[in-house]
């Protein structure tokens, strides 16, 4: 173990430092999860490698092929306030803007939110429904992992030791409508009891094209609700199918009882949140 707090200037230095440590060292983005879990370095023998000085990780950028790149180190406040994100991915902006409090959003990053891999990470469901991929720098070069495949369990991801998430690539799609809904006991400073990202694209013939529904805090990881999506795809956005889709949500989730809510409440609310979000979109169509 070399140092307890290290601020490398390049990705390869960061990885070297990580791999030299014996698994007690953590990449440090905004620290809002790490500092609560572990405290400052030294308390339990751990160390931090700050990603702050790595270039290119803190920006929101247009990329070729109608894509937008959001750097992992982009602060949640910036994600919530970015004009580009508001225009193309409003549900993601809403999710980022719902995390904790203004100061937590000033410190916390979108990369940290995802890498921390809490089942209730608020930015995860919208990233999933916008078809985002995680861009990861590893020992053997860069790889791209679809968000649907990123989480492997509570607090675990498919990142290999030393891998650094550099950001997210999101396809722009003007035909998509999306929403984010968060259920909690308070209006701020709240871990989601259930969170929902939902995106919908109509096929031109008045039927639902691609539908993506993702839920947080109802399973060991944020999850896609494929059964409900399939009920809607190819069907008109009408109350009958909306109710059927909402009823199918319960089948794809595995909520638990914890101090924030019971599994039963989560299951009920997940279905209702999906239903209400779709009904609202349906009402918009008929206005």
């Amino acid at each position: 173990m070399t140092t307890r707090f290290f601020k490398p200037g390049s990705i390869s230095d960061a990885m070297d430092a990580y791999l030299k440590s014996d698994g007690t060292t953590h990449y440090f983005a905004g620290g809002t999860d790490l500092m609560v879990k572990l405290g400052p370095p030294g308390n339990t023998g751990h160390g931090f490698i700050s990603l702050e000085r790595l270039s290119g990780l803190n920006r929101v950028q247009e990329r070729p092929e109608d894509k937008i790149f959001i750097g992992a180190m982009t602060g949640l406040s910036e994600v919530a306030g970015s004009g580009l994100i508001a225009e193309h991915f409003p549900a993601l902006a809403a999710a980022a803007g719902s995390v904790g409090s203004p100061s937590i959003r000033n410190m916390g990053t979108i990369g940290g939110n995802v890498c921390n891999a809490s089942p209730s990470a608020d930015t995860a469901p919208p990233l999933m429904v916008y078809g985002a991929s995680a861009v990861v720098a590893g020992r053997d070069g860069e790889k791209t992992i679809p968000m649907d495949a990123f989480f492997t369990g509570p607090s675990t991801t498919c990142l290999k030791p030393g891998d650094i998430l550099t950001g997210f690539m999101l396809p722009k799609n003007p035909a998509i409508r999306a929403g984010f809904v968060k259920l909690g006991k308070r209006k701020a400073m709240e871990c989601s009891i259930v969170s929902l990202g939902l995106s919908l694209e109509m096929d031109g013939a008045g039927k639902c094209g691609t539908v993506r529904i993702a839920l947080g805090a109802v399973a060991p990881t944020p999850v896609r609700i494929v059964r409900a999506e399939k009920i809607l795809e190819g069907r008109p956005l009408e109350a009958e199918f909306i109710h059927r889709a909402a009823a199918a949500v319960a089948g794809d989730i595995h909520p638990i009882d914890d101090l924030r809510a019971t599994a039963g409440y989560r299951r009920k609310m997940a279905g209702r949140m999906v239903r209400e979000t779709l009904l609202q979109m349906c009402r918009q169509d008929h206005q």
């Binding site: 707090f5 370095p41 100061s103 701020a188 400073m189 871990c191």
Partner: protein, 928 residues
């Protein structure tokens, strides 16, 4: 550890210092630079007390490793003003708008507000609430804070002084210390040689201690002292029943019971030392439920209950440490005479004071072995007494000095952290400071008693209540603490509102293996009000009577007696209730779906108990008020008491200064709580000031050669009424007394408000009869309740309190707004949860849900004034009753909106939804 040099600019001053990896920015700011305006309320990013601006953005300094800050620019609260006389407009606005109560959250709030105004010069209220949503405030209900930010943004901060002294909106005198970050709270007290104290707590809810081995801890480098029960004489202490020792000896009775304590050079070493103490436990069967604890075969928590000394007479049995009974008339006959009998049950949760400031104390021992304990405590003299009892030290060898209190709410009424600091300091010969962590706050301090109620009443079709029978059980946890008093108060409150000829009340205070519950703001009032006012609402509905009309018909009138036989005077329920009904436009039907309205009333007492105040006229004619009473955060001393003294003497409130909270320098005071601040301490201060005035007048009469009756006092001058040019100043009189004839002029007063008389034949087992100064209120709520999600949305909130006389209306409103916020927390979101093994499941601000600025509605406060003969200028107590009605008022609005009666607090969305589903199951659709 590998230290590293960093350079940080703090408030434009560059500092280069070696920091170690385990230091946070908050530590560096507070402990290394010495800027203690930035506070630590949780260390977990959840409270915002540590807010600073880092490179232009507000951040939580507790979550930032110091090493990450090399090259950063930091602004703390101390850097907000341009200079001592040039406050930031936000600071001025916080002072003048009453946005500062205890002041502990104030620095963090101001930092967040400044960052907001830097980006948005004129934000709407909703945006202000959002910007402050990471800053918890337990005192204000946020409304006056939002007012202040709005006013600062729009440049409308008033600067004139109020015209009248009594009834004037004087800002808290010490507000300037709070807005600039210089005030010293418990954890801000430092000493260069101070060691860090930490407490080892029981891991079992109920177990026998077989053996404690501290040798490994004692041998650890950097450990200065380890103490256990073996180091303390077996001195029992307690409020009503002496059932507690400083350390658990033979037995632990809850998970959190103190077993040992360590003093060490650093916190990390102290923590490590705790882990080296070996305690051999023999687990015993625990009991957590009061009904189980009352059963004959329940595990006994206090085997020696019958031998404990108690300050009042009561029956005890098994785990029941108090039984309180009230009997009036013939309940059976009353119920038989009724057209309808209704029975209800209710339950309330453990609510925690959750002051943002944690408990903290520093103990120092002088060369004579005399103890100085500096502590954030509401009752300095009681701490002295308890310490003396518990440690069997003469009282004169103990000096207790109170710091500023960052919110008390009854959580700092008892001796909590003090004895451990004292024992450690005595053993290691160095000052020892103990500051509780947020988790310890939730595990091992004295929250509100959970209670359960069974109420049965009879009513006639015309709305006459014929009888009421109630059983209430208070879960006091491992020790009796304030439980007996809480049960006594419950008996007074439940019989204090309505005219009921036949009453039978049976109250029980029961031990369980949980933390010791204590006195939280209005002990028993929110619990009882929730149960009683929900039940009363249902009685009205059962006979199809409007709930307002039912209350107007049955609420006690002045001159009538409560169930314990107290005659009500100087209050007016009708006026108070009608003020709310008016503001709510009660008679207008509500047509919106799932929307309802509810009312709830409260009866409460203005606390008495003994106090003393000395008013000293200083050489320059200014005045010092010397009192051991402290200000637990409401500001009553710094507003109303100062105003009362100024009025009595005829001088500007700015010339009145306070000396307070020191058992060496001040006369006795019982301790602050029970809404006795203005009512009792204020009254005593008035009497002392009047005595001082008479002493001044005697000199003036001699000097001016006129009789006393012809003199008056104004603006620090005494003049002849008929010839105002003939006058002499306080300063002249005082300087002469100081220099020529010896001694300052002082006015001294002791005061013990009489207990109110009750009918002794009606009660048994109560720990005290009743106080004078009944203080009442009524709240009204309009709310929407989603039948889909169970979420409650408050659309309108009105709160009227009969304050007797609002000595300081701004401060009175602050009490109401803050009380409503706390009451809504009790109603909707707050609950300390106990797991199967007796562990606290949610010991953090993350999961103990204090309402944030975005959760609390705007409150319309109405001050009703029916002067109380006993209070100073007619004032009554106000701090506590403000938080009692919200749960019942909201519950009644839910009942109105959804025909659903909630019987358990908090009424979370989940609970409402499941109750709604239960009800649907029970009543097939189509039925009413």
């Amino acid at each position: 550890m590998e230290d590293k040099n960093i350079t940080v600019t703090i408030n434009t001053k560059r500092h280069t210092l070696a920091v170690s990896p385990n230091e946070t920015l908050l530590r560096v700011i507070r402990d290394r630079i010495g800027l203690t305006g930035t506070k630590n309320g949780c260390g977990e990013g959840e409270c915002g007390a540590c807010m600073v601006i880092r490179n232009g953005k507000p951040v939580n300094a507790c979550l930032i490793p110091a090493m990450a800050c090399d090259g950063d620019e930091i602004t703390t609260i101390e850097g907000l003003a341009d200079g001592p006389d040039r406050l930031h407009p936000l600071q001025d606005a916080f002072i003048s708008h009453g946005a500062v109560q205890c002041g502990f959250c104030t620095p963090g709030m101001l930092i967040s507000a400044k960052a907001l105004l830097d980006d948005y010069p004129n934000p709407p209220r909703e945006q202000i609430r959002k910007a402050l949503s990471g800053n918890l405030c337990r005192c204000t209900g946020y409304q006056k804070i939002v007012d202040a930010v709005s006013a600062a943004a729009s440049g409308t901060v008033p600067s004139e002084k109020p015209e009248a002294v009594i009834g004037g909106d004087y800002p808290r005198r010490d507000a300037i210390e709070h807005v600039t970050g210089v005030s010293k709270f418990g954890a801000d007290i430092t000493h260069s040689r101070a060691a860090v104290g930490k407490i080892l707590r029981s891991e079992y809810a109920h177990a026998r201690i077989k053996h404690i081995d501290v040798s490994a801890a004692e041998e650890l480098d950097g450990v200065l002292a380890v103490v256990t029960g073996a180091d303390v004489p077996r001195g029992y202490f307690g409020v009503d029943i002496k059932d507690r020792l400083v350390f658990a000896r033979e037995k632990v009775r809850y998970r959190g019971d103190e077993v040992a304590a360590v003093a060490a050079e650093t916190e990390a070493i102290a923590q490590k030392a705790l882990s080296l103490i070996r305690v051999d436990y023999e687990p015993l069967e625990p009991v957590f439920d009061v009904r189980e604890a009352m059963a004959d075969d329940a595990p006994v928590i206090h085997e020696q209950l019958m031998d404990y000394a108690a300050g009042f007479e009561t029956e005890k049995q098994g785990n029941i440490c108090t039984m309180a009974h009230v009997r009036l008339g013939d309940v059976e006959k009353g119920l038989a005479d009724a057209d309808l009998v209704l029975e209800s049950t209710f339950r309330t949760q453990i609510q925690h004071q959750a002051s943002i400031e944690p408990h903290a104390a520093m103990a120092e021992i002088d060369s004579h072995g005399r103890i100085l304990i500096t502590t954030t405590n509401q009752k300095p003299f009681a701490v002295r007494r308890y310490l003396s009892h518990a440690m069997q030290i003469p009282m004169i060898n103990i000096r207790v000095n109170a710091t500023k209190i960052g919110g008390g709410f009854g959580g700092k009424l008892e001796m909590i952290v003090e004895p451990y600091a004292v024992l450690l300091a005595r053993k290691c010969g160095r000052p020892v400071k103990i500051v509780y962590t947020r988790a310890e706050e939730f595990l091992a301090t004295t929250p509100r008693h959970p209670a359960s109620f069974k109420i049965k009443s009879g009513v006639k079709k015309d709305g006459t209540i014929t009888a009421m029978q109630a059983e209430f059980i208070y879960d006091t946890g491992a020790y009796s603490g304030n439980g007996p008093t809480t049960v006594t108060l419950c008996a007074q409150v439940i019989g204090g509102l309505y005219r009921i000829p036949n009453v039978r009340l049976d109250g029980y205070c029961v031990y369980t293996n949980k933390m010791n519950c204590g006195s939280m703001r209005g002990p028993s009032a929110p619990q009882t009000t929730f149960a009683l006012e929900s039940h009363i609402d249902d009685l009205a509905r059962a006979i199809d009577m409007d709930t307002l009309d039912f209350r107007l018909k049955n609420l006690l009138e002045p001159g009538e007696k409560t169930a314990v036989g107290q005659t009500l005077v100087d209050m007016d329920f009708k006026k108070t209730v009608l003020a709310v009904a008016d503001a709510m436009d009660w008679r207008a039907p509500i047509t919106d779906e799932n929307t309802g309205k509810g009312l709830a009333c409260v009866y409460w007492l203005s606390g008495g108990w003994s106090t003393s105040v000395t008013v000293k006229i200083n050489e320059d004619g200014s005045v010092s008020v010397v009192t051991a009473a402290v200000d637990m955060g409401t500001g009553y001393l710094y507003t109303s008491v100062i105003q009362i003294v100024a009025e009595a003497l005829g001088l500007d409130p700015d010339d009145v200064h306070l000396v307070q909270g020191d058992t060496d320098q001040c006369g006795y005071d019982h301790g602050i709580g029970g809404s006795r601040g203005v009512f009792t301490v204020g009254k005593c201060a008035k009497m002392a000031a009047e005595n001082a005035l008479e002493a001044l007048m005697a000199v003036a009469a001699r000097k001016l050669k006129v009789s006393r009756e012809r003199l008056e006092s104004k603006n620090s001058w005494i003049s002849v009424k008929s010839a105002p040019e003939k006058r002499v100043s306080f300063a002249d009189i005082s300087v002469e007394r100081h220099i020529l004839s010896g001694g300052p002029i002082t006015g001294v007063s002791e005061y013990l408000p009489e207990m109110d008389s009750i009918e002794p034949g009606r009660v048994k087992g109560l720990s005290f009869p009743a106080f004078k100064g009944v203080t009442i209120g009524c709240h009204g709520v309009k709310a929407h309740v989603s039948s889909d999600t169970g979420e409650v949305k408050i659309l309108k909130y009105v709160a009227a309190h009969d304050v007797g006389r609002a000595v300081n209306p701004l401060a009175a409103e602050g009490q109401i707004e803050g009380g409503v916020a706390m009451g809504l927390g009790f109603a909707l979101s707050e609950e300390l949860m106990i797991g199967r093994q007796g562990e606290v499941v949610n010991p953090s601000f993350r999961d103990y849900k204090l309402p944030t600025a975005m959760d609390v509605p705007e409150v319309e406060s109405i001050l009703v004034e029916t002067p109380a003969a006993y209070g100073p200028h007619g004032a009554k107590g106000l701090g506590e009753p403000t938080m009692a009605p919200p749960a019942a008022a909201v519950g009644n609005a839910i009942r109105d909106a959804l025909k659903l009666r909630m019987t358990e607090t908090p009424m979370t969305a989940e609970r409402i939804l499941s109750a709604l589903e239960e009800k649907k199951k029970a009543v097939p659709s189509g039925m009413p």
